[in-house]
Symmetry: C2
Subunit: 272 residues, 2 copies
């Protein structure tokens, strides 16, 4: 029931990315100077966002960064764009609206290619909507607040790269614990990851999460969930949930998805 | 992206089951006279439903039919119930509320056991909520009507037996085309199956659906989906979707999920 090892490294980022170390880590995992990054700007309605990321990534000294304008479903079987994805050593998914991303790309040849390249070892990073979409079971919409309520979240199918994980973003800044808990109530076999802004959860192929950046990652583990009243709760009423384990992970700390064991940052050890 | 072959046969039934041929087919696939059926009545709030199905199945001449009262999450790692599931040659999931089923059983050892037994070849049948729950991406709640609207459906994680298929039930009787289309808009890599009452879609391990019973099965194929405006639509506004292919399959007809080719009932051929 738990997520198995994925082939590439997955780097969901919580939005408002400004820490260059996160992009540098992405590039290092995608091949360093010889990296070829395909950028997917579909989530955004800003027409220049793809070009902006091309520049931001090229500036860091890589071979190629190319935005792939998958604007409509009919773009998603374009041979040039599929070839670009096939040759990419890294894929970057921008922010915007994750439901736009999946309603345009979901189920198309481009979606299949992204999944195939990831399975073949390609590193995939994404920020905000680009992080949420990595989930199999994705939060499409939701309300703010820390208490789960049955009507506070709209679920959709994500790209399915982070099997068994529901990723939320802008987490602490937009007070999203309630909606992540609600998503887990609707899909209790999933682990929840709430990622703060300018923060990344680097998920290795063997399922170890490392936190980077300015904020924290909140892990919601429902493996010992006791009560879950989502089926009986009115949309606006709080859901009763018991036995949910929450871990708050600061930068440098790690969390093993298989064993559910966390370790603090190495620097903390050396200060003891 | 399409569902791969599953190991057991899956028999979603559209509710209001009265055609004994459907249960007889289930029993034949589950081992005939030596069948051992585990009944999961969790979806229902009627305390006697499990016993009712024990009698209904035993009456058809099988070795054992045993209801497993998974009422709360803490029941779902009970050694006796897990052993009953492990020895079952068939699993039957009753009607009721599919969200109750997943909020209680989802992510527990009983859920893992159901998936494992199905992967090992055990036949799984379910009616109404018990059919909906077979989906990976499940319709938990929804409104009536034939036009898709962004706010008309609530999605949750199902048991994940019918990979890549969203199953809806009481289909024509409760006017559910709109909610199935909406679910597909939210998860376009899925095939939709709308099953009428007292009707079954017998899905073989190699992905061929055969229709049995009084009504029809509606197949919604979004593999050539063009426009999908769910991301931009207000909750109460209709979603624009183009290129959705719908097939209406009467009793005796078949549909190959891999090739997307349908054949009418054999009897029609012999009448030509």
């Amino acid at each position: 029931m738990l997520p198995g090892p994925t082939r590439g490294t997955l780097i969901p980022i919580g939005g408002k990315l400004s820490d260059d170390h996160i992009l540098e880590r992405f590039i290092a995992l995608a091949g360093g100077r010889s990296a070829r990054i395909a950028i997917i700007p579909t989530a955004s309605s800003e027409p220049d966002l793809g070009t902006w990321y091309e520049r931001a990534l090229t500036r860091l000294g890589i071979e190629r960064a190319k935005a792939i304008p998958l604007d409509e479903r009919c773009d998603c079987d374009d041979a040039d764009w599929l070839s670009e994805l096939e040759q990419a050593t890294g894929i970057f998914i921008t922010g915007g609206d994750q439901l736009r991303l999946t309603s345009v790309v979901g189920g198309t040849p481009a979606h299949a290619m992204i999944r195939r390249r990831f399975a073949e070892g390609v590193t995939v990073a994404g920020t905000s909507a680009g992080a949420a979409v990595m989930s199999r079971f994705m939060i499409a919409r939701g309300d703010e607040g820390s208490s789960p309520r049955a009507g506070m979240v709209t679920m959709a199918a994500g790209f399915g790269l982070a099997e068994g994980i529901i990723i939320d973003q802008h987490f602490r800044e937009r007070d999203r614990l309630g909606r992540l808990l609600t998503a887990i109530a609707y899909a209790p076999e999933n682990l929840g990851l709430g990622i703060d802004e300018n923060t990344a959860a680097v998920i290795s192929p063997d399922g170890v999460i490392e936190v980077m950046g300015a904020g924290a990652v909140t892990v919601v583990d429902a493996s010992e969930l006791g009560l879950n009243t989502v089926a009986d709760a009115l949309p606006s009423a709080p859901i009763t949930m018991t036995g949910v384990k929450i871990s708050l992970l600061g930068p440098g700390s790690t969390y093993d998805i298989t064993t559910r064991v966390a370790h603090p940052a190495a620097a903390v050890y050396s200060d003891e």
